[in-house]
Amino acid sequence: MSMQSQDIIKRSATNVLTPAPRARDHQAEVAKLIDVSICIGCKACQVACNEWNDLRDEVGHNVGVYDNPADLSAETWTLMRFDEVEDESGKLEWLIRKDGCMHCADPGCLKACPQPGAIIQYANGIVDFQSDHCIGCGYCIAGCPFDVPRISKKDNKAYKCTLCVDRVSVGQEPACVKTCPTGAINFGSKQDMLHQASERVTELQGRGFAGAGIYDPQGVGGTHVVYVLQHADKPHLYHKLPTDPRISSAIHGWKGWLKPVAAVAFFATLAGTLFHYVGVGPNEVEEADEKHEEDTHA
């Protein structure tokens, strides 16, 4: 990070008393809007992502579905997930979801990360991994409610979609947005994207998709990647998109109540030993005993 953005609103493993540079935090929140109902699954966004970010994942194998590669990886930051779903009337639906980092307002990866500054969140909402600080512990993988981060086998560091932070910071839209041939991916202020999404949802509902809606899960404070889903009431249809994603209570406990409890326990133990020692004094064997023992055993 040679260019200083000075608009970091959250920084991993950083005390609230010592925040990151954030003087320039008056930016509007951004969002990428993915309209699943328009997507044709051409994977142009995948290619654009690889091109812009200089990623060349290994050529994989056909695993019997259109998903290729089969999963997200350190070199595949976005991936089309294809699901064939039959509705009640037996009609086949092909649901195609562009998977990748959701850029949560309350990012589980950032909460779990133990290394100061390895994960940061900018004022515009983008959550970014600072790979040179990454220690490869994989806590971000445990923290993420969407199973997005991946550790590279090459350098043992975690990777994921950056929302093309390098493009956005100079006023361009992410590479996937620029490439999408159907207009299924849009980018702008979160407010604008939600407005556009709600208009599309109204249109879909008018055409008989009663369950159409916006996926902007509030359990993680909302996300900066937002979906329009034909079946927002059943997000799990879209390759197990979680219905109500939240940071796991185990992570909350570990990074929440356990820290003050442990701190109190440490101080109590250290204070206990200190006061015991200055109160009771050293536990020494009586001099007389020592002498006596030496006499009798000499």
Partner: protein, 215 residues
């Protein structure tokens, strides 16, 4: 040092294991604290860099486990619960006040030391199992993300508990003068043994007068 006046309490291989373990444990505990309390992140410098600390912490942790497993085999027979331990519990107030009367029929280890022994052995086992679950890049990929989350929480709790126990252990060794010499040189004075471990002292004395051999 006139060893005739002293009693061998801890053999060389046990002392060597103990102190190697202490060094490894210090590095593992400090790096662990560096991740648990991010404001103490600098503590991971004990391993050089944050990245190296992340790689080395689990290996040194396994060394601690193996050395403790060895000491478990060596010491477990002295740490089994006995009827006489009840006297120590009944008089724990006097023990903590540093009073040496009445004699409490204490064997090679007192009841408090036995609790510490089993606590340390239990916690290191929990740390090993939970540590394997979260160990990247080798083992964590074999486990589901929900089980890794539980592993992280359990590992942190067990690590904190173990460090607290070790602080207590180190303090008590410092408090009871002569104990640290017992673990460094292996020898304790006869009066130390008689005062703190009267039943063990009698057993040793009887054995010595019988065979003339020290244990």
């Amino acid at each position: 040092m006139n060893k005739d006046k002293l009693i061998l309490r801890t053999r060389f291989i046990e002392r060597a294991s103990h102190w190697v373990m202490v060094l490894c444990f210090l590095a593992v505990a400090l790096s662990g604290l560096s991740w648990f309390f991010p404001s103490l992140n600098g503590l991971n410098a004990v391993f050089g860099t944050p990245q190296l600390a992340r790689i080395l912490h689990p290996f040194f942790g396994v060394v601690v486990f193996l050395l403790l497993a060895f000491l478990f085999v060596r010491f477990v027979k002295y740490n089994l619960p006995e009827r006489e331990d009840l006297a120590w519990f009944r008089n724990v107030r006097q023990v903590l006040a540093g009073e040496h009367e009445p004699a409490l029929q204490i064997g090679k280890y007192n009841a408090g030391q036995k609790i510490l022994f089993w606590g340390i052995m239990g916690l290191i086992s929990v740390l090993l199992v939970s540590g394997v679950v979260i160990w990247r890049p080798y083992f964590a990929p074999w486990f589901s993300i929900p089980s890794i989350r539980i592993g992280l929480l359990v590992h942190a709790i067990a690590g904190i508990c173990l460090i607290l126990l070790i602080i207590g252990h180190a303090y008590l060794a410092f408090w009871v003068k002569g104990s640290i010499r017992g673990m460094v040189t292996g020898y304790v004075s006869r009066s130390w043994a008689k005062t703190h471990h009267d039943r063990w002292y009698r057993q040793i004395s009887n054995k010595q007068s019988g065979s003339g051999k020290q244990q």
